[in-house]
């Protein structure tokens, strides 16, 4: 049998595959920023009035 197992691919592989790595990266960065801003926490014992 000459066919070998293959590695798992990542969404980033797919993006590189299609030559849209930059666009994918930009979308990923925006998602990280939005998640960070959405999950801003108020420090405990530090009540904001």
């Amino acid at each position: 049998m000459e066919i070998k197992e293959t590695k798992e691919i990542t969404p980033k592989d797919l993006a590189i595959f299609l030559g849209v790595e930059k666009e994918y990266n930009d979308a990923l960065i925006e998602e990280i920023i939005n998640n960070s801003l959405l999950s801003i926490e108020d420090e405990k014992n530090n009540v904001i009035d």
Binding site: K4, E5, K7, I29, L37
Partner: protein, 507 residues
């Protein structure tokens, strides 16, 4: 979490209260201390007591601060932190190693001024790589190096690919004078020399029997048949020569080569350059290629469908289509299980069942994660096609398709891009996992050895032109349009091979 942002109320020495939003370094995965200049640029201040970078805010300007200060600061930091580095490191290492090894390369044939010139350009290249952030032109150059190395199928090492392009950007096919003679070409008078390095050959101190034993063991270790030639496997040939004591590791010498532009065909003899030029065209596997190597993949996909209770029916005629997905059942054209194109069709229809049909997820809620749902027909076709294509490519079947439209793939909507990419790759990996498990089971299960049909050697894929492929697929018009956008096409192919090469490295 990349950045953990928190809000708090602080009290100044004068007892005045003020609100701040800050990046908590203890809960942020990204270390922000190397990026203080960016933070300062966007108005962040350092709080020495809390040891955090923060922004002042009040209820009126909170949204403004988020939009105009925090967001752009995080964006700039992420652009640095998330930039792809692997490729850069590879080139940097190669340039560095080459510069260092220049000292040890035998240079009795290389004129001193050429050596100085090459060293200078290598050092320039290294500096360019170090400053990659600021140099789009460099990235373009690296793409040329990469495509030169992978697409043109020369088997040049990364070192020599770099050396060729540093000395002659227009070079395409480079050989030494004696090798050109074997290719029925003579080097023109005053042809410019491209200096390359080659491993230094030694006279082996081993006996013939010892050499034969080493060769036999080496072939066994690398799953090669005794009659296999290493001609098209320069990496393996190099390794074997080291083991045979014919060359020393890290010992190189310079040799002069010439680009094909500065050579002339010997009249009346076979023209190899014509064949080379044809080969330069991207390799396309024939879509109706019969190849026994695909049989285990085909069987594994059938097994996958059955494991999800998807019925597979064979049909003599599907009204011009090769396969149909019907939510819970798939029809494909009748075949013998060794048709590469129809194996891709099967993967394509399975991708439809997972991505766009409701049957599988209705039976097993775990499969909800693979469901994107139907958008327009164009979009679902693109998604199923790219999934099938990647599954086939992962096993070495270069079934490139000209019908991929990048924007359509995620509906032209940037926001849905992440979800589509995640889901499509998950579906690809789900199929890959099943195929891998199937192959492993077939290999390990001594009680059910591979059938004679499954245990066959690979037949090399035939070459056809992209135009023929497009015609065959009935996408001539789309292909011509895609061809116009040749830059994108080239990029796609380069990336395709890059990924394949990376996969091969991992294997």
């Amino acid at each position: 979490m990349e950045f953990k942002l928190k809000r708090s109320v602080e009290t100044s020495k004068q007892g005045k209260k003020y609100k701040i939003v800050y990046i908590d370094p203890n809960e942020s995965e990204i270390k922000i201390y190397p990026h203080t200049s960016i933070l300062k640029k966007y108005g962040a201040k350092w709080n020495n007591l809390k040891k955090v970078w923060f922004w002042f805010y009040n209820d009126e300007n909170y949204e403004d601060i988020k939009e105009n200060n925090i967001k752009p600061a995080l964006r700039e930091i992420l652009k640095i932190e998330k930039k792809p580095t692997d490729e850069v490191d590879e080139y940097l290492d190669a340039a560095e190693e080459l510069i260092n090894s220049l000292e040890n390369i035998q240079s009795n044939v290389l004129p001193k001024e050429d050596e100085i010139k090459i060293r200078k350009s290598l050092e320039d290249l290294r500096n360019e790589i170090v400053n990659i952030d600021n140099d789009e032109e460099f990235k373009k150059t690296m793409k040329i190096v990469q495509s030169f190395r992978s697409i043109k199928d020369h088997g040049y090492s990364l070192y020599n690919s770099m050396l060729i392009l540093l000395q002659d950007r227009k070079a395409t096919w480079v050989k030494s004078r004696s090798v050109w003679k074997m290719f029925n070409r003579v080097v023109n008078k005053e042809a410019p020399i491209i200096w390359l390095v080659k491993p230094k050959h030694m006279r082996s101190k081993l006996s013939k029997t010892e050499r034969e034993k080493i060769k036999k063991d080496f072939y066994k270790k690398h799953n090669l048949n005794p009659q296999d030639t290493l001609k098209d496997k320069p990496g393996l040939k190099h390794k074997l020569n080291i083991e045979l004591g014919l060359i020393f590791k890290n010992s190189f010498e310079w040799y002069p080569t010439y680009d094909v532009r500065f050579t002339t065909q010997i009249e009346g003899k076979k023209d190899y350059y014509e064949e080379f030029k044809k080969k330069e065209d991207v390799k396309w596997a024939e879509d109706d290629l019969i190849d026994e190597k695909v049989r285990p993949i085909y069987n594994a996909l059938i097994d996958f469908a059955h494991s999800k209770d998807i019925k597979i029916d064979m049909s003599d005629d599907l009204g011009g289509a090769k396969g149909v997905s019907k939510s819970g059942s798939i029809e494909v054209l009748k075949n013998e299980g060794n048709d590469v194109g129809l194996t891709k069709t099967l993967a394509h229809e399975i991708a439809h069942e997972l991505l766009h049909q409701t049957y599988v997820k209705s039976k097993d809620p775990d499969f909800e994660q693979f469901f994107i749902g139907k958008d327009s027909r164009g979009v679902v076709e693109q998604q199923a096609e790219i999934a099938a294509w990647m599954v086939m490519a992962s096993y070495g079947f270069d079934l490139k398709t000209t019908s991929i439209n990048y924007a359509l793939l995620w509906g032209g909507d940037k926001e849905s891009m992440l979800k589509v990419f995640d889901t499509v790759t998950n579906v690809v990996n789900l199929m890959i996992k099943h195929i891998n498990d199937y192959l492993k089971k077939q290999n390990n299960d001594n009680n059910t050895p591979l059938s004679e049909e499954e245990n066959v050697n690979i037949h090399p894929a035939k070459y056809i032109t992209p135009d023929e492929m497009a015609k065959f697929l009935g996408v001539e018009n789309q292909y011509q349009q895609a061809k116009k956008d040749s830059e994108q096409q080239t990029k796609l192919v380069e990336n395709f091979y890059k990924i394949l090469n990376n996969s091969k490295k991992i294997l």
